[in-house]
């Protein structure tokens, strides 16, 4: 693995998901290289969370396949999942544990070697701004800090792919700024997929944007090219997601 930067980190082909007869996600293709940040946009119920759950092995796709760093997620879930970090929409936190206990558990579950767990914990709490809260119970932390713990558990095992479902929802403007700079930092040498409702966030953080509507991709382009063309993201978003709804 000498050619790490630029190699494909996550690949999804023909991803479909049906809930009964309802189509939640239809024929999604996705390819993300290392060092890229992809923004998922779309109205509520467009299928963003469903795709993220499928990419992280929380939901089995009805059709299609997912590869993480060339490892098939359905055939070798264990190896593939070890390379993914996932922060769901609602952070999966145990309120009864302290930050330290919780992150140690996350590290152990993600097969971080026991001799480096201590240093990994120190590094991650410092990076996420939790150094002073390590002995606090998660239940007693504010929403912003809980979100940080959520991010910390997703990146403690140094994954190649990070999937964040609305990581800035419910944060105050300062915390949002911090979160964005953290995501940019993470996106430098890893691939990050994040979903959001804030269009400016996508423009400031992401390299590429994919707009979802009713389970389909209706837009997929790089932010750079969008800026070149001079079209605003908001215009495209409204045009693409309103049009189809009224057709």
């Amino acid at each position: 693995m000498t050619e790490q930067i630029g190699s494909t980190a996550i690949l999804a082909r023909g991803l479909c998901r049906y809930f009964g007869t309802r189509v939640a996600v239809h024929d999604i293709n996705l390819e993300l290289r290392r060092g890229e940040v992809l923004g998922f946009l779309g109205p509520n119920g467009a299928g963003k969370t469903t795709i993220m759950r499928m990419l992280t092995g929380n939901l089995a796709p009805s059709a299609g396949r997912v590869e993480i760093c060339g490892i098939d997620l359905l055939l070798k879930p264990r190896d593939a999942k070890a390379r993914v970090g996932y922060l769901p929409e609602i952070p999966p936190l145990y309120r009864e544990l302290t930050v330290n206990e919780y992150l140690r558990l996350a590290a152990r579950l993600h097969r971080v070697e026991s001799r480096i767990i201590r240093s990994a914990l120190a590094k991650i709490t410092q990076r996420c701004g939790l150094s002073n809260n390590r002995e606090q119970l998660i239940g007693s932390l504010s929403k912003g800090y809980q979100q940080r713990v959520g991010i910390a558990q997703a990146i403690i095992h140094d994954p190649d792919v990070i999937v964040l479902d609305e990581p800035t929802a419910g944060l105050d403007p300062n915390q949002m700024r911090e979160m964005r700079s953290l995501i940019r930092e993470l996106g430098a040498d890893r691939s990050v997929i994040l979903s959001t409702h804030i269009l400016s966030e996508v423009e400031s953080v992401c390299d590429r944007v994919q707009i979802m509507h009713e389970g389909r991709t209706v837009f997929d382009d790089s932010i750079g090219r969008l800026k070149q063309k001079g079209t605003s993201l908001e215009e495209s978003f409204v045009r693409l997601t309103m049009n189809q709804a009224t057709v």
């Binding site: 999966p92 936190l93 009864e96 579950l109």
Partner: protein
Amino acid sequence: MILAVAQKELKILFSSPLAWLILALVQLVLTWVFLAHLDTFLEIQPQLIKIANPPGVTETIVAPLFATAAIVLLMTTPLLTARLIAEERRNHTLPFLVSAPISIAEIVIGKFLGLMIFLSALIALVAALSLSLLAGGRLDFGLLLSNIAGLFLISACFVSLGLYISCLSAQPATAGAGAMGALLGLWVMDTVAADEDGAGIARNFSLLAHYESFNRGMIDTFGLAYFALFTLIFLMLSVRRLDNERMRG
């Protein structure tokens, strides 16, 4: 990995007052029962001496104590198993475990193991209660060990059934009530079976009927196989259930 899950279960269990309350109350009730049996034994001891081959303290005190302990565990394990999966679901923490590179089977076994370690502590307290009799006499250790083994096996059955019912529900209270109902049903089945002279097919399916032979000091392969299969089947059903959830969403 399994141990990490088990350890987490124990940590969360002991961080709530529930675990301590259950340990204290069970010990209180069982000590009461123990003392009552001891009292009776001391009362009838003068008459027992006259019999040629009198029953010892293990048969008159320890065995009835373990019989009561099984019923007490039947009532309390649903309180502990209820939260195993249902609470994770309610707090949206299940993705944390599922996204980690461990299989569903490891999650289920880890949770089972965590609770079994807790119940082992409870069983150890009951055993300690029995061992206190050594202060004033001798014990039949074979019978005591058979009782401990029986109590351990029957609590494994309680836990696996409770764990499965917890997989079915998103509400810990519902899961607890369900497990309690199922276990009470099995208990009633035992008394129904007992009415029919103990020969009916219902008796073969009764948890407590099998426990009874361990209680008398008889470890038979049928009983062992029954407990092992019972536990295994409900653990497998739990794995299947959680796996299906990933399929159906």
